[in-house]
Symmetry: C2
Subunit: 374 residues, 2 copies
Amino acid sequence: MRQGLGINNYYTKLNLLKNMPFKAIPEIGEFGLINKIAALAAPTLAAVPELLTGIGDDCAVFQPSAELLQVSTTDILAELVHFDLMTTPLKHLGSKAISVNVSDICAMNALPRYALISLAVPQSFPIAMIEELYIGMSHAAKEYGLAIAGGDTSASRSGLVISITIVGEVSPEQLTHRSGAKPGELLCVTGSLGGAAAGLKLLMREKEIMLNHIENNEPYTKNVMADLKEYSEAIQQQLLPLARIDIIRYFHSKNIHPSSMIDISDGLSSDLKHICHKSNTGALIHENHLPIHSSTRRIADELQDDALTWALTGGEDYQLLFTIPREKYQIIADTREISIIGEITDPDSGVNLCDRYGMNIDLASISGFDHFSS
Amino acid sequence: MRQGLGINNYYTKLNLLKNMPFKAIPEIGEFGLINKIAALAAPTLAAVPELLTGIGDDCAVFQPSAELLQVSTTDILAELVHFDLMTTPLKHLGSKAISVNVSDICAMNALPRYALISLAVPQSFPIAMIEELYIGMSHAAKEYGLAIAGGDTSASRSGLVISITIVGEVSPEQLTHRSGAKPGELLCVTGSLGGAAAGLKLLMREKEIMLNHIENNEPYTKNVMADLKEYSEAIQQQLLPLARIDIIRYFHSKNIHPSSMIDISDGLSSDLKHICHKSNTGALIHENHLPIHSSTRRIADELQDDALTWALTGGEDYQLLFTIPREKYQIIADTREISIIGEITDPDSGVNLCDRYGMNIDLASISGFDHFSS
């Protein structure tokens, strides 16, 4: 592009040249776009009967042999959309990029086997920074027992883009979809919620302080960034989330089969709606059963924000949300890492939150994170 | 980032903050970077013995069961690095993005099964344009018999980025690596070479003309772009290359096992050197045996450029370069789509081109395409 023809004007002009109807992505949203893509992909499915599940779950499912299923997932992370290098150490970013994909593999009750990693990197990006990124990826891969098997590197005209695909394996009996929840079943979540959102808010505040220093040409010292130790839990949940592979290993060892499962990447509210939609059920969750860490509540108070909203819509917690039959209650109740937050209901009841005053709130009115919302 | 802090300054500043040695990617080149990445990925391999081949071939190779191998590859395509929407119809771009990955699958003598597709899309990108892109992808996927199984969509702060992963299958007997060539074997290539580079040069010329019209505020009409029909072959090779799955099916039907194979994405010279390096051999190719289409030669004359250079270093031809034992000569000689361009030699002889005057030229002095060269 020549000077003065910004990228937005450029697309509008191209679109006019090609005589296409103009509608931008925010008008239909991320899920509207996914539906359009799924419809266009549908004609390719007939040729490959071994593909058991296509677009619409945490992973695609492929059957290479009778005894084994393969699950695969991919995530694309773009600079200044998903991460900000000013507040994100590159090792942490590498680890997180692996973890968010492993989290999708876990959501199928599967274990990861290998990863393909693609990077589009600005030419001015120092090699030492790419190495830091890979050190973080390699470290996370070792933790999860998966091999970094290949990838691609390319230049980028703008920011860093990381695209990772991970392939995992699961036996046919253990495979768990988003669908499969039944009315009366218990709804469970691992770990705690809202911490990643709290960490993000803190980092954004610190960035503002740092930028003001840079703009005023004040010398940078480590002390510029306020001492963040007291917030370390929330910041770690944002920068260095871990996929709950420990829970999947626990399920396998205890022979627990969730009837449905999803990982919480967009926020509890949005991801619960996916389970209910795919399972054709409703759900009722209880505010006072939601696992919100005390440090998350403290940060919310300090920032005059709301920890419940973070838990419901903040996203990026990478916990597992799953359902089990009521008779499995005792096994789950033994585990500190799992909270029972509600139950699955009839589809007509909708998806509701019973708040601390006993009032039912329709979660349809609360939306999750949409990458294309402005 | 705030106004005035351009992305390049931004990285330099970050690097200084983090106290890292500064060396940019062009200093070590794309292959230097790949070597660094492979070293960082190595510690992850021990945990997954079923991963038979990691970084360093056209695909990773994984063994899900005794009878079957799985090959997988990924490519990341960035706007204004790999494609220019001003000269690239979106349907063609979608098809090409699938084809370049299928080409890597074919280079292992395998057939593609399923694809995961990730897009990072600027918010202002019209939905109709994304649909065009997917129509092209879906069309190509159907041609190759592979299923579009999933993917990810995200916003992008800059241009369009397409990242595709394709998984394919092959029997253990048919798997073909870059290594495996032996001195005395025949070196063969499919189709013709240099056409994609010729097409690119033509499109760049037409773009200049088009931009001049836009800058001068002359109304855009279809006639602005000169009539390109006479060049349609070269332009098609650039915009709509097809992976040589037909050749792989032919190999399987005739029970032909190449001893080594690679697809020509960076140019014959660079990709031949990969085969020789991995096989620990030299090679001698003959200029007058190289399949350069007459239309490619005509375009080179018209643009006062050199068709041989395009064939050796232009890249993006997506033909297959492979070796077979001499006794298989007759089977290959029957096929119009395959040319015998030379033979494999001892490693000490190096990698050479015998030009039309009978002079040997060391191909080490001729380099392929490097995405990070400036």
